[in-house]
């Protein structure tokens, strides 16, 4: 029987270190033994069989890593059902993480796209992809995915359906409202005397979005009569989120001497969008998580097979 090459064992052991620590501790030793035995047996049949086995491990590695890290993340966030005093902070933290991560991932995708198309230009040049997508496309998508993700503890296997519905609903919502709100914003933005009125329009718009998103979460969570809390949390979260990002984004812009000073791909560019997106997601998620915590968290259902 042929021995497994040392370098292959070392490469395999190295790949195991990429798995979550808990998974490594629990199954790592067994996996090493199974791999070594399987390789020896395959290599005895033919060298090609041995290579095929190693390549199969390599092929499946990325998918397995993603699955285990996601399961680990989910478990970490849901582990130990919270007591009455811990329920609200824990659920708020979970919500903040979910929306914070989702928003920042979308931010990253569009940043990369923007850099590819417009690197070196000023944001003020007006041809940034953000001019097209911001508020219209990526936020609904991020919210849809966030809602689906946050709804998973309810144990609904098809929780992505309302998530997708939210994404599409908000996409249409922003699209439909854009022709109504944009001219009003444009006409008011240079008029100091009625800037307060403009802000109140934003408050109304964000509150509407928040009620839609909170309502969807309530439906996913089967919150029954408590849906009002979800709607309220959504309205509050979207307004606070908007306020937070406006203040932080404004502060960064001030430091960078406004849009002329922000070159696409520069540190100020990243700082600006980081300040605008991540706190936005964190605040919205925390508020929605608080509504979920009021109702008590559900134990996650059996993982999908």
């Amino acid at each position: 029987m042929k021995a497994t090459p040392r370098w292959l064992i070392q490469a395999y052991n190295g790949s195991l270190r990429l798995f979550p620590v808990r998974f490594q501790e629990e199954y790592g030793d067994e996996m090493k033994i199974v791999f070594a035995e399987a390789y020896r047996e395959a290599a005895d049949i033919s060298p090609r069989s041995g290579w095929m086995l190693a390549l199969r491990e390599l092929r499946d590695l990325p998918g397995n890593l993603i699955r285990e890290h996601l399961a680990n993340l989910k478990k970490g966030m849901l582990l130990a059902p919270p007591g009455p005093t811990q329920s609200l902070p824990r659920s708020a933290l979970r919500g903040a993480l979910v929306f914070g991560i989702t928003f920042s991932l979308f931010y990253l995708v569009f940043c990369l796209l923007d850099i590819l198309l417009n690197a070196g230009k000023s944001m003020y040049a007006g041809n940034s992809v953000w001019g097209v997508v911001i508020y219209i496309d990526w936020i609904p998508l991020a919210i849809g995915i966030g809602v689906a993700w946050l709804g998973m503890p309810a144990g609904k296997r098809r929780v992505w359906v309302p998530g997708l519905a939210i994404a599409l609903g908000l996409f249409l919502f922003y699209r439909l409202l854009a022709p109504v709100f944009t001219p009003i914003y444009d006409s008011l933005i240079h008029d100091e005397s009625i800037r307060i009125f403009m802000i109140s329009l934003i408050v109304i718009q964000e509150a509407l979005v928040g009620v839609i998103v909170g309502g969807a979460l309530a439906w996913i969570q089967r919150a029954g009569k408590k849906w009002g809390w979800y709607g309220l949390a959504g309205a509050l979260g979207f307004n606070l989120g908007w306020l937070t990002k406006a203040l932080l984004g404004g502060a960064i812009m001030f430091q960078a001497h406004w849009m002329d000073g922000v070159v696409i791909g520069s540190p100020w560019y990243f700082a600006y969008w980081l300040a605008e997106t991540i706190p936005h997601g964190l605040v919205i998620g925390a508020c929605l998580g608080l509504a979920m915590g009021r109702r008590g968290e559900k134990v996650p259902a059996a993982a999908t097979t």
Binding site: E30, M31, I33, V34, L61, N64, L65, T305
Partner: protein, 124 residues
């Protein structure tokens, strides 16, 4: 929600999970035995990587469909060491795992019966 509903919600099983439970249906096995058995039972069609195998085992243990225990020598009850010197682990079906496997087996049988019924009707 009654137990029947719980079981039905987990069906149909994926091919990997079905073969894994089938492998354990005849008795406890350790990881490598499951690895080989799944390959044989599927006629070489389902060949798992170790990451996929242990990812599935982990989920099944967490869900309570299978359980993990230390293999013991029959007369003494001493643990059987593996290559690293640690007690070798084996896996076996739990009552819940057996019921879920049986339910999926019955579902597959009913599908086959339906196909046979239709084929017989067409031939008549």
């Amino acid at each position: 929600m009654d137990q029947t509903t719980d079981i039905q919600e987990n069906l149909p099983l994926t091919e990997t999970i079905f073969f894994l439970l089938l492998s354990l249906a005849s008795g406890p096995r350790h990881g490598y035995a499951i690895f080989k058995d799944v390959q044989e039972l599927s006629g070489g069609r389902v060949v798992l990587s170790t990451g996929t195998l242990y990812g599935a085992i982990k989920r099944l243990v967490e869900q309570g469909w299978i359980e993990r225990f230390e293999e013991q020598l029959p007369p003494t009850g001493d643990p059987v060491p593996d290559e690293s010197g640690r007690p070798r682990k084996e896996y076996r079906l739990t009552g819940l795992g057996r019921r879920i496997f049986d339910a999926d087996y019955a579902r597959l049988q009913s599908l086959v019966a339906a196909v046979q019924l239709r084929s017989a009707g067409e031939q008549a």
